[in-house]
């Protein structure tokens, strides 16, 4: 199975849907799925934020977005540094 990737904007009390605080991607593979966020270290790294959200955690909103929107958030994070 080819990998399938879905993207989510991370929105908390200090960000907005128009300008999310971060971005998460869920990559489906033959073995299961892997969640990663694009971090302050400018790399994708494993994350449990989406899973926690699915289990009732209210720290962040996780909003499905397109790959293009995800790229824009990544670019914004890179420009910040």
């Amino acid at each position: 199975m080819a990998e399938q990737t879905r993207y989510y904007a991370i929105v908390n009390d200090f960000s907005t849907r128009e300008e999310p605080g971060g971005v998460l991607r869920r990559v489906k593979t033959d073995d299961g799925e892997r969640d990663e966020t694009f971090g302050a270290d400018l790399q994708w790294g494993r994350s449990s934020l989406l899973y926690a959200y699915e289990c009732g955690d209210l720290t962040n909103d996780m909003i499905p977005i397109s790959e293009e929107e995800a790229d824009q958030i990544v670019a914004r994070i890179c420009q910040r540094d």
Partner: protein
């Protein structure tokens, strides 16, 4: 069943009654054997509702109780397969004032110190005004209680894990800001009977608001495969400190407890993809067996239009 309870029309034995009384007042059993005709319409309706609710509770409890042993067996197999042991108390800590957690999570010394100070303040607000408020609300209805009260403050290491996740995943946020968005540093759980769950959650939400707490968000996840319940975020108005209130039935709370180690294992971000999939499948199996309380799907969540900058 027809509205109104005419006991003479209830052919079931007293053993089959879900609300059978085997306690000190068992002399009521003799009364139950005599035909009882309720002539007052209001009493007839009230008795019908009481009986219906007791049947709902009884059936829900039994369906869940029957499923639990098998679910525990599945978890034991997963535990054996992956060699799980009790989670270590904490990751070995460096001596430079920084903090290290599972999955490579880190806070530098300044961040760690800021979180420690913030946590102390949250506990102070919790003890001083949030807990007394929640206790007062609890006292307004003796049919349900706060459960797991000993866990009202999140453990400091678990809290720092969340703060570290937030700092890493939302670049630019300060440690204090990250700490302030974690709603469950102070948390409470109310548990209800299935039959009265939805109505009583509504009442307790109203009581929280009447007590002066600000509802920030409420999420109904009874349709979720991974977690059943209603979780809500609240703000203590003077301090701005957030706290969480969860609303559960006995089964949904037991399901949460039964899957807690799977949840923690996935959250550690050290499990392989295949292992994670197996753990999620276990959570699906457990939650699939949790009875859905009547009316809960109609109780919508509440979320602010904008989630930034305290605009709720």
């Amino acid at each position: 069943m027809a509205v109104g309870v005419e006991r003479s029309e209830q052919p079931e034995s007293s053993d089959a009654r879900p609300d059978r009384d085997t306690g000190p007042g068992a002399d009521r059993v003799a009364d139950q054997d005599r035909p009882l005709v309720l002539t007052d319409p209001e009493r007839r309706v009230a008795e019908h509702l009481r009986y219906r609710d007791s049947v709902v509770n009884h059936e829900a409890a039994h369906a869940w109780d029957r499923a639990v042993p098998e679910l525990r067996g599945i978890w034991e197999k997963i535990t054996d397969k992956y060699g799980y042991t009790e989670r270590s108390v904490s990751v070995a800590q460096p001596t430079d004032g920084s903090w290290h957690g599972e999955g490579g999570r880190k806070l530098d010394a300044a961040q760690n110190s800021e979180v420690d100070r913030g946590y102390a303040r949250i506990r102070e607000v919790g003890e001083g005004s949030i807990i007394p408020g929640l206790r007062a609300i609890e006292a307004e209805d003796p049919t349900r209680h706060l459960v797991g009260f000993e866990h009202r403050f999140k453990g400091l290491d678990r809290l720092k894990e969340k703060v570290a996740d937030e700092i890493r995943s939302t670049p630019g946020i300060t440690p204090s800001q990250a700490l302030s968005v974690v709603p469950d540093a102070v948390r409470f759980t109310y548990e209800y009977d299935d039959a009265v769950y939805t109505a009583n959650v509504r009442k307790d939400v109203e009581r929280l608001e009447a007590r002066g707490f600000t509802q920030v968000e409420r999420r109904n996840t009874w349709a979720s495969e991974q977690y059943k319940g209603i979780n809500s975020r609240w703000r203590e108005p003077l301090s701005g400190v957030l706290f969480e209130v969860q609303f559960h039935t006995r089964a949904s709370l037991e399901a949460k407890e039964l899957t807690h180690k799977a949840y923690e294992r996935i959250r550690s971000v050290t499990a392989t993809e295949r292992e994670t999939e197996e753990l999620k499948d276990f959570q699906r199996q457990v939650n699939d067996k949790v009875p859905i309380p009547p009316g809960t799907t109609e109780y919508e969540g509440y979320r602010p239009e904008r989630r930034n900058g305290r605009t709720d």
